[in-house]
Subunit: 414 residues, 2 copies
């Protein structure tokens, strides 16, 4: 069934476009510049700007002199007018952030030693952390748009729970959104880590416009945020980005390795870049990693961090294993880049942010060498600026993105 | 940079939505039904319908009685009002079709033994075939919107040539669009086979609405047409759909197999499902396939068809090899389905159309077993109805799609 559009949809969309342009202009932007950059008429600009001024989302009280000509009055974002919160539930950690409209972190907090095996206590701890953060920020509660909870998939975003997440054993079908909403009396949404990372990159990263890119998220799990024409690809159930069973390449598999229990392959990314597999290789090379790390989700995440620390401290075997992991992810990235014909791949996530300096060059080389349409265009490979908090930041951005971002797809009548 | 939209864009989009709704209504559709299905106001429907009637694209002269109530007058497509042509240049064959607005084949033709190693002669033969087809159709030339040429990628769609296509050796940077345009005095566009197949499925297949699906194209090459929210994903250079170097699975690799020259893997789809690899296996099983088939692109394509014929004739070894190929493609489909979170995979293309009956069930089982979000939704696996002409049909559909289909992305100001 085909759906049309109408003036109301058009108005909402243009307002979002104009707001986004002002939001992105660090030095302010004049009405004339807005008309040029958006392609909209001065009348439309004027109507929308009046609404944005009335709502206190922008101000227009600064005059800028640049060159000869008349000084111009610029519109600027009232970044503190609206705020949002993000919580990242990762096997390796739970972190919470508050962002302003620009995407800047107002306050952040790491919940120490969450009992991830006990979802109820974790949810309790999340709610307490949010309350502390709001308190610490000194911001009025009514400015907070909502809370975005980010977790590994698969998940039922609409109903607010995780569905058989391979990295969070006890969380299958445990409600997250509803208990948090009750405790906090705030709007709460759930978002998959890879999708949240891509939203964060769009909202807070450099202006990607209508770009097409992959965000290779490397944390306790590994996934791909996919952006098509400047919008995040969600998939039919908001679970896009699952690449765990792509082949990393048999060259990364040592003799005697166990195949993946799920897909049966020896070299799928989920098993080849797992702590269990890497720890086996590390121990054979004489690296001391206590066996008890293997037993729990939190232990495996801690063990992976331990390997990264060793690599950063100069342990060559650890460095080789972690570098191999980065190249495995590159093998997956290149296949997705070919399938989707993107010209940019962004690496990020908690693990990557410790590694980037050492492996970006090698990874970029692998990707460009294997890109099938390389005669037509290259693939820019970069590190995300968002650091290890990208998940939590993505949750907070998802809240604002849902309300404020212009989306061509939202132009259609429901 | 963010771009807004305006009334002109909105009008064009709604016109396309209304036309598409009438085009799809095999039994006709009334104005009241149109307003319901599109969500548009009766005034908008009335304005657009007047334009469509004026242009002769629809008619409104039939009254339908259904149930009690007043008989309703229905709008119906004038399918013959506009036509388009599609040419599929495949290593296995060159085929040409003429379609009407409904997507029905008016006439079609297969160019016998095209000298694919000689692009100039092939282009000459394509132009001649188009002229013959127009003549045979008896339709006035001015009704023809244009010609869509379909070929394996990678290609430079904008400039109208193929760029290092692995399956068409002599065609690197040979201009196709411009010489055809000159000879035929028609609009000509170039489209990648996987993208054309997905457009054909959207235009001529069942109403996929705003669906997300993969079209696994199995011909001389294998690729994936990707549809997101009812629109084909093109990628930044119109080369999306390249999956040749995804791993088919080591279980399909026999001892002594040669790795892929491009990616180095033993089990990438391009090498594992190549005629060269399959012919080796077939000969070891005593199947007679002349060695000279291996030497040329056309020979390898003919050899693959020979294997399919043997399988269909009941040769169990050939059947096992071809069935293995179908399962290889399923292995790729499942990974893409997970990455993109689609709920439908459509198999099609020249080779598949000979095979479908025998392998659809097995392929559907493999895909659903490996789908990561299976707790949330299944993946419907079906065969395309478009048959072996899907490439040529896709070329013709691409011409009409470019002019007539509603696309949310086209709402943005340029």
């Amino acid at each position: 069934m085909q759906r049309g559009t109408n003036l109301g949809r058009l108005g909402d969309f243009n307002q979002a476009v104009i707001f986004e342009s002002i939001r992105r202009a660090a030095e302010g932007i004049s009405r004339v510049e807005l008309a040029e950059s958006t392609g909209l008429s001065p009348q439309t600009i004027s109507n929308v700007v009046r609404r944005l001024l009335d709502e206190g989302l922008v101000r227009e009280d600064r005059t800028v002199v640049s060159g000869p000509g008349k000084p111009r009055t610029v519109l600027e974002l009232e970044a503190d007018r609206l705020l949002s919160l993000g919580i990242h539930v990762d096997p390796g950690m739970v972190s919470v952030v508050m962002l302003d409209l620009r995407g800047d972190v107002v306050v952040s907090k790491r919940v120490d030693e969450p009992s991830l095996e006990d979802p109820e206590r974790t949810i309790e701890a999340m709610a307490a952390a949010v309350e502390e953060l709001v308190e610490a920020s000194g911001r009025p509660r009514q400015r907070i748009l909502g809370v975005g909870v980010v977790a590994p998939g698969p998940m039922d975003r609409e109903r607010g729970f995780l569905a058989a997440p391979p990295l969070l054993d006890g969380w299958n079908h445990v409600e997250i959104v509803e208990p948090l909403r009750r405790r906090l009396d705030m709007d709460v949404l759930l978002e998959k880590d890879t999708i949240a990372a891509a939203i964060a990159e769009l909202w807070k990263g450099p202006d990607h416009g209508r770009d097409n890119f992959l965000f290779m998220y490397i944390g306790a799990g590994i996934g791909a945020g996919i952006v098509v024409n400047g919008e995040v690809l969600r998939g039919v159930s908001n679970n896009a980005g699952e690449v765990g069973h792509f082949s990393a390449g048999m060259e990364f598999v040592e003799d005697g390795a166990e195949p993946c229990e799920e897909c049966g392959r020896l070299d799928c990314l989920a098993v080849a870049f797992s702590f269990t597999r890497l720890a086996g290789s590390a121990r054979r090379r004489g690296i001391d990693l206590p066996e008890e790390l293997d037993a729990t989700v939190a232990g495996r995440a801690a063990g992976m961090n331990r390997l990264v620390e060793l690599a950063l401290a100069g342990n060559e075997d650890a460095e080789a294993l972690i570098g191999g992991g980065a190249r495995m992810v590159a093998q997956v990235a290149i296949r997705l880049a070919n399938a989707l014909d993107v010209d940019k791949v962004i690496f990020g996530g908690p693990l990557w942010s410790a590694l980037e300096g050492r492996h970006l060059g090698a990874v970029a080389e692998v990707i460009n060498a294997g890109f099938v349409a390389r005669d037509l265009h290259g693939v820019k490979v970069v590190s995300s600026d968002l650091g290890h908090l990208v998940g939590a930041i993505g949750g907070a951005c998802a809240v604002m993105d849902a309300v404020l971002s212009p989306k061509a797809s939202a132009l259609l009548l429901h």
